[in-house]
Amino acid sequence: NAGVTQTPKFRVLKTGQSMTLLCAQDMNHEYMYWYRQDPGMGLRLIHYSVGEGTTAKGEVPDGYNVSRLKKQNFLLGLESAAPSQTSVYFCASTLGGGIDTQYFGPGTRLTVL
């Protein structure tokens, strides 16, 4: 039982490049979340999903897109990376949404030059 995994762990991009971060969970959780963490800012919610085929905006959605084609996977895409998107990205999941315990992946450190 791996819990929540994230791929890749590290990535360096040039401004304007695109990439996709993959989050996978094997706990059969319905709800999945993407956050970014910047120094002094805590974790800010980018997008989340309440089930397969659904997505919703969080606090800071601009510049990101997401997809939840399979229940166990939640993808975060950057179409045209900007230096302001340099951050550590965390994925999380819960069984029953906001009323359940949240489990986090190990994070992806992204640098945009």
Partner: protein
């Protein structure tokens, strides 16, 4: 919008001391969680506590939902308690919003 405020932002203590961390939130919540982020970046859930009091070893938490705050107590601090402590609240729309955290340094 939703406001989650944590205090203090930073705390430095000697090993063995006790501490109280506070989380204030601006609206009625469905749930409140406390997390510890260790120096390697891993986020670990400590408590799921929408109301009432819970204890787990040297840690305990109390949430007073009607007054919109929660407290995390750490007794007899150890160096392994160092890191950042976050509270996170959730609302009717299943968003889970985090505060900015309290950075705790425990000195040997």
């Amino acid at each position: 919008g939703i406001q989650v405020e944590q205090s203090p932002p930073d705390l430095i203590l000697q090993e063995g001391a006790n501490s109280t961390l506070r989380c204030n939130f601006s609206d009625s919540v469905n749930n409140l969680q406390w997390f510890h982020q260790n120096p390697w970046g891993q986020l670990i859930n400590l408590f799921y506590i929408p109301s009432g009091t819970k204890q787990n070893g040297r840690l305990s938490a109390t949430t007073v939902a009607t007054e919109r705050y929660s407290l995390l107590y750490i007794s007899s601090s150890q160096t392994t308690d160092s890191g950042v402590y976050f509270c996170a609240v959730s609302y009717w729309d299943d968003k889970i919003i985090f505060g900015k955290g309290t950075r705790l340094h425990i000195l040997p």
